[in-house]
Structures are given as structure tokens and as C-alpha cells.
């Protein structure tokens, strides 16, 4: 397990009694969660347990039916929260804009908000691409020309450009072969070490979760079943967690 970076610049996230339903289907049924500044926090759980919905709430893409989310004790829906805290998300599909090149995608936040002059943006883009092991030639490619793993790495570079205090990853290793999945996992740990941002990863991938997490939460039936260190989660007696963590083809 990697140590939690010291002097973290990330923010504390507190989720209080979060509830969300889509029609008659209750997806989140009173979720409580405390995520510490700078840690890599992994959210695991079976399909349909509400992990991605919870993640979308944390970035403000969904509005809860009730409950609240606090970033360093400031409510997420408060006016000007985006000016006080920088939150970035790496989407399951990458979420890269297909009409832009890799370089334009990575520099989009800086160019659209006019935060830096074009030459400076160019330099930062190259720097962030190098951080995820992509070369200057890759900046000129379009997302359609990239493999799944490269798309994920570009998405990580795009998130890093924002110098985020919170980075959210939605299924970062889905659709990737084990070798590329390991690379992406390493990129997440490296990004956390560089930015010291609070990192929340939603995944089904047990190897990734136990490999990178400082703490893991298990979500089942719209509620948090358990939060703990990877060791504590691995040996937890809850039957749903046991089934999830020990499932493999030979036993079935």
C-alpha cells in the first residue's frame, strides 16, 4: 500500500445521508462517507450498486434528492464552489472531445478559461502528456486514433492540467487488458503523488483496488457496507463482500 502523501493539497470530502432515486428505483439510500485529504479512496461494489451515480453527485453532474456533500465543510451546491475548489473527473469512456486533437483536449480547460497564453498552454500540455508517458507526437493525434489505454492516459493528463484538489476516476481500467490496466493504475498513484489531490476511484477491478487504495469503501444496495484499509476489507465477514471479493470462474 502506498503511503498517503504528506502536506496534502487535496480537500476533505464528506457525504451525509445522500439519497437518490430514478423513478421508483432507489439508487442511493442514505450514503455516509468521509474521505481524507490527499488519500486514494476506492469505491467498490457490484454492478448497479450506485457507485457511478455517487461519483456523478460528487462532481455536481447529479443533484441528490436529499442529503449533502461537503468539501472542506463547504456545501457542494454553494455559489462559487468551483472557484474555491478544482475538481476533475476521468470518465469511463475517457470523455475526450472527438473533434479536438489530444493536445487541444488536454489544454482545453486552460484555453477556454484563458488562464495561460497559448505558448504556456503548449508547454503545460507537453509536460502533462509526458507525465502519463505520451510523446509530443501524440498531441497531434485525434482521440479516434488512440487505443483504449491511451485515451484513459490522455483523460488523466487533461485532469492533471486543472491542478485539481479532487480527482474522480470512473472505472479507469474497464475494457483494458491487464498490462494496460496496471499502467493506468500506476498513473493514478503517480498523479496522486504529484498533485496530492484527494483521489476517488470507482472500480470493479479488485487488483486495482487493493493495489492502489489507501482505504476502500464497499457499496451495496445503495448504502456503504464497510469502509476500511485494503487488509480490513479483504478479511471482512460480510457475505456480499465475501462473494464479490472471492468470485472466480473455477468456483462457479
Amino acid at each position: 500500500m502506498t503511503p498517503v502523501p504528506s502536506a496534502a493539497s487535496g480537500v476533505a470530502i464528506r457525504v451525509c445521508q445522500l439519497r437518490k432515486s430514478f423513478g421508483s428505483q432507489v439508487v442511493l439510500d442514505g450514503v455516509d462517507l468521509d474521505i481524507r485529504p490527499g488519500e486514494i479512496f476506492v469505491l467498490m461494489g457490484p454492478s448497479g450498486s450506485g457507485k457511478s451515480v455517487l461519483l456523478r453527485h460528487l462532481i455536481g453532474l447529479e443533484t441528490p434528492d436529499s442529503g449533502e456533500i461537503l468539501l472542506n465543510d463547504t456545501r457542494l451546491e454553494d455559489e462559487g464552489i468551483r472557484d474555491r475548489f478544482r475538481l476533475a473527473m476521468v470518465f469511463q469512456s475517457g470523455g475526450l472531445l472527438n473533434s479536438l486533437t489530444v493536445g487541444q483536449n488536454v489544454g482545453l480547460y486552460l484555453s477556454e478559461h484563458r488562464l495561460k497564453p497559448p505558448e504556456e498552454i503548449e508547454r503545460i500540455v507537453q509536460e502533462k502528456l509526458a507525465l502519463v508517458h505520451l510523446g509530443p507526437g501524440d498531441a497531434l493525434k485525434y482521440p479516434a486514433e488512440l487505443s483504449g489505454g491511451m485515451k484513459k492516459r490522455v483523460a488523466i493528463a487533461r485532469a492533471l492540467v486543472m491542478e485539481p484538489q479532487v480527482v474522480l476516476y470512473d472505472e479507469p481500467t474497464s475494457e483494458l487488458d491487464p498490462l494496460v490496466a496496471v499502467t493506468v493504475g500506476r498513473e493514478i498513484v503517480r498523479a496522486n503523488a504529484v498533485t496530492r489531490a484527494t483521489t476517488l476511484v470507482v472500480t470493479h477491478d479488485r487488483d486495482l483496488a487493493f493495489g492502489i487504495a489507501h482505504r476502500i469503501a464497499f457499496l451495496g444496495g445503495g448504502r456503504i457496507v464497510e469502509v476500511g484499509t485494503p487488509e480490513a476489507i479483504r478479511s471482512h465477514p460480510d457475505p456480499l463482500m465475501r462473494r464479490f471479493l472471492s468470485a472466480d470462474f473455477t468456483r462457479d
Binding site: G60, M89, G95, L96, L97
Partner: protein, 255 residues
């Protein structure tokens, strides 16, 4: 239906409020203008040429039989400027550009590109919808002027070479000049502009509202085009009714 109408009104309001910031997105705006011009100019040319031609073909013999052949130029010009040009060009653009807008935005929605913009604090309405609606609103009236010129040329060609009509090009254009007034063209331009805004908003709204993967994108594109055509035809009646008093005088003078 009313819910969708409400969403379109909200989207139009948000786009209108963002209008002062349109130059910030000039790169996207020029890209859209280029796209519209590039993909529709040839089609507009062919369509207008044949509409002008068929107008002459249908109306020419009837007018010629009654000794009114010399009035063909005004009839073709007024029909193209006030009615056929705006409606046909708008329907062409709805089918060619509106459908592409709905498909592109729909695909961006489905593949989380719009969510990604939101997480970067980039307003999708300003970044995606505003340049598209402004581009279509600028390009469509320009296409109408182009269509009017080409359509009249088509009408004049058929009038001159069809023995049942046999109206010389000089007579055709003389009558066109004496009949068609600036306010007739203005009538057409106002209509076209309003149709363009409608097509832009309807198609962008449909794209942003896409749910459910590739099938959802297909559904959105179909709905965008069908709704655009329905709105164009309904608005055509309403706008014509409102603008009619302005052009009555010119009609009385011309025919």
C-alpha cells in the same frame, strides 16, 4: 410535447443570454459556418435551379395562354423570395445541417463529452449550442440570397427555352426588377432568419436531450428533422400572416 417545447424555450433563452460572448467562441463559429457552407451550397444551388425551373414550367404556359407571359419573372421572383426560398432552404438545412448537429451533440452526450465539459466548468450551451445557432442564423439568410439568384436564373432559362412559355430572359428579368421590391426580399430574409434560429434550437435541444446509446442518437436525429420541418411550416403561416400587411402594397403594384 409541452415539456419539449419548454426545454426549447429555456435553451433559446440561455443561448440568447450568452449572445454577447459569441466572439469568445469565434473558432467554433467559423468552423460551423464553413461546415454549413461547404456541405449545403451545392445542394442549395441544385435545389434552387430546379425550383425556379419548375415554377416557370408550371406557371409559364398558364400565364402565356392568357397573354400574361411577361409577368412570369415577378411571379417566380416573388414566390422564391417570400415563400419557396425560405421554406425549401430551411428544410434543406434542417435535413443536412440540423440532423448533423443533433447527431454530433447526441453522440457527445452519450459518450460523456458534454459531462466532461461541465466538469471543466465549460458551459456546453456557450461552447456548443451558441456557435451552432449563430452560424445557422447567419448562413441561412445568405443561402436564401444565393438561392434567389440561382432560382431566378433557372426560371429564366426555362422561360426562354420552353416553347410553351417563350418569354425572353430580358422580359423575364425586366418584370422581375419592376415587381420584386426590397421589402419582399426582406420578408424572405426575416422568415429565413426565424426559421434558422428555430432549426438551430430544435436540433441542438434534441441532441442535448439524447439518451440511450446509438439507438438514442438515431431517434434524436429523426425527431430533430421532423420537429424542425413541423416548426418551419407552422411558423411559416404565422410569420406570413404577420408580415402580409407589409407586402400587400407591393403585390398590388406588381400584379
Amino acid at each position: 410535447m409541452f415539456r419539449e417545447l419548454g426545454k426549447m424555450v429555456v435553451l433559446f433563452g440561455a443561448t440568447f443570454r450568452a449572445l454577447p460572448r459569441v466572439l469568445r467562441y469565434r473558432r467554433n463559429l467559423f468552423e460551423q459556418l464553413f461546415e454549413i457552407g461547404n456541405s449545403s451550397l451545392l445542394m442549395a444551388c441544385v435545389l434552387s435551379l430546379f425550383i425556379g425551373g419548375v415554377l416557370s414550367l408550371q406557371a409559364g404556359p398558364l400565364l402565356a395562354q392568357r397573354g400574361l407571359g411577361s409577368m412570369l419573372g415577378g411571379l417566380v421572383g416573388a414566390s422564391l423570395a417570400k415563400e419557396l426560398g425560405p421554406v425549401m432552404m430551411s428544410i434543406l438545412i434542417a435535413g443536412r445541417i440540423g440532423s448533423a448537429m443533433a447527431a454530433e451533440l447526441g453522440s457527445m452526450r452519450v459518450y460523456q463529452e458534454i459531462d466532461a465539459l461541465r466538469t471543466m466548468n465549460i458551459n456546453p450551451i456557450e461552447y456548443l449550442v451558441l456557435p451552432r445557432v449563430v452560424a445557422i442564423s447567419v448562413a441561412l439568410p445568405c443561402l436564401l440570397v444565393f438561392s434567389l439568384l440561382v432560382g431566378c436564373a433557372g426560371g429564366a432559362f426555362v422561360a426562354a427555352f420552353n416553347p410553351e412559355v417563350a418569354v425572353s430572359s430580358a422580359a423575364f428579368f425586366n418584370n422581375l426588377r419592376s415587381t420584386l421590391e426590397l421589402r419582399d426580399i426582406l420578408h424572405g430574409l426575416i422568415k429565413t432568419f426565424l426559421f434558422a434560429v428555430t432549426v438551430g434550437v430544435v436540433c441542438c435541444n434534441q441532441g442535448l436531450d439524447t439518451l440511450g446509446g446509438p439507438r438514442g442518437i438515431g431517434r434524436s436525429v429523426t425527431k430533430a428533422v421532423v420537429n424542425s420541418i413541423v416548426f418551419i411550416l407552422v411558423l411559416d403561416y404565422v410569420i406570413t400572416r404577420m408580415l402580409l400587411p407589409l407586402t400587400k402594397a407591393s403585390m398590388a403594384g406588381g400584379f
